[in-house]
Amino acid sequence: MNNSNTQVEYKISQAGHKEDGSNNTPETLNGTANLAAAGNPATHSTTGAPVKHESEEHASPWLFYGFSMFAFLLIVIFAINATKKMQMIPKKSQNIGEMIIEALYGLPTMVMGERGKKYAPFISTFFLYIVIMNLSGLIPVFKSGTASLSVTLGLGIFAFFMVQYYGFQTHGLAYIKHFAGPVAWLSFLIFPLEILSELIRPISLSMRLYGNIFGEEQVIQALSTSIPVIGPYITILMLPLQLLTCVLQAFVFSLLVTVYISMATEKHDDNHEGQHA
């Protein structure tokens, strides 16, 4: 399973191979996925022509967009199947759909209380989309959509803009006062710090997800190529860890987006009442 995963992954990464004949060193002509020799050519090969590096040999981004589209289609087909002919006592896929929605709506309610219901569809979409994308990387021929920085950065930027939108929706223009900090006369110092910490959030969200998912498949590739005889068969031991990471990282992503939304939209009414009393 994982053996064919790494073999096909290597073939996929070879698909965008160099057109110039510069990669003719004997190590790179070797058919097996020898990461140390074949994956990292130098700036100039022995023939003197420039050679691309491993970082430029990654699979084309369109492959990851295709797999993220696959996850999207999977969710849409399941949703359409679950919501046609809805009955009061649900059967089959409507039952599963209701179970999933009930579990997913518990997350914003746990973090934000009752006003979490308003943001629950948005957050559940993140969780479902990311977990399906992550898990599809475990299927032999597939790759995770989130193993590409483009996809995760897109998710992070989208989450960032939606958090700002919810903040403005709740507070109007007074949302800017959220960045001012607690004391009024220090606000010009605190303002850039808060803006910076707000801007770093999509980057940290996307890097966390990308690093976990891409790192898992890189670890499996490194394991299967560096241990001489039983390498590809040892990688099955990474499977439980990979399963845990997929679900956990989707959960952490949605939980962090929930926390950001709750921080952006919280109303300080009870604080003011306490001070006036």
Binding site: A42, H53, S55, M207, N212
Partner: protein, 90 residues
């Protein structure tokens, strides 16, 4: 040549040093979770949930260093080419 030596050192040591801090941090997190669990075993499920969330966030700092390690590893040269260059003079 010093460039490649420094690159190799950075690629190797970066994640290792990040994992050092991550180990200490996650050890503290689990210690707090276990102490809370020992005081009140009925709260086991909630404590486990928050512990897992905290561990994932602490781990993400090491993951940033790991991603940098991958980027640096991609810029390392092949050993055969480096040896050929050394044999043929700098």
């Amino acid at each position: 040549m010093i460039y490649f030596a420094a690159l190799a050192l950075a690629a190797g040591l970066g994640t290792a040093i990040a994992a050092l801090g991550c180990g200490i941090g996650q050890g503290n997190a689990v210690r707090g979770a276990l102490e809370g669990l020992a005081r009140q075993p009925e709260a086991g499920g909630r404590i486990l949930t928050f512990m897992i969330i905290g561990l994932a966030i602490i781990e993400s700092l090491t993951i940033y260093a790991l991603v940098l390690g991958f980027m640096l590893m991609g810029k390392l040269p092949v050993t055969a080419d480096v040896l050929a260059k050394i044999a043929g003079g700098y």
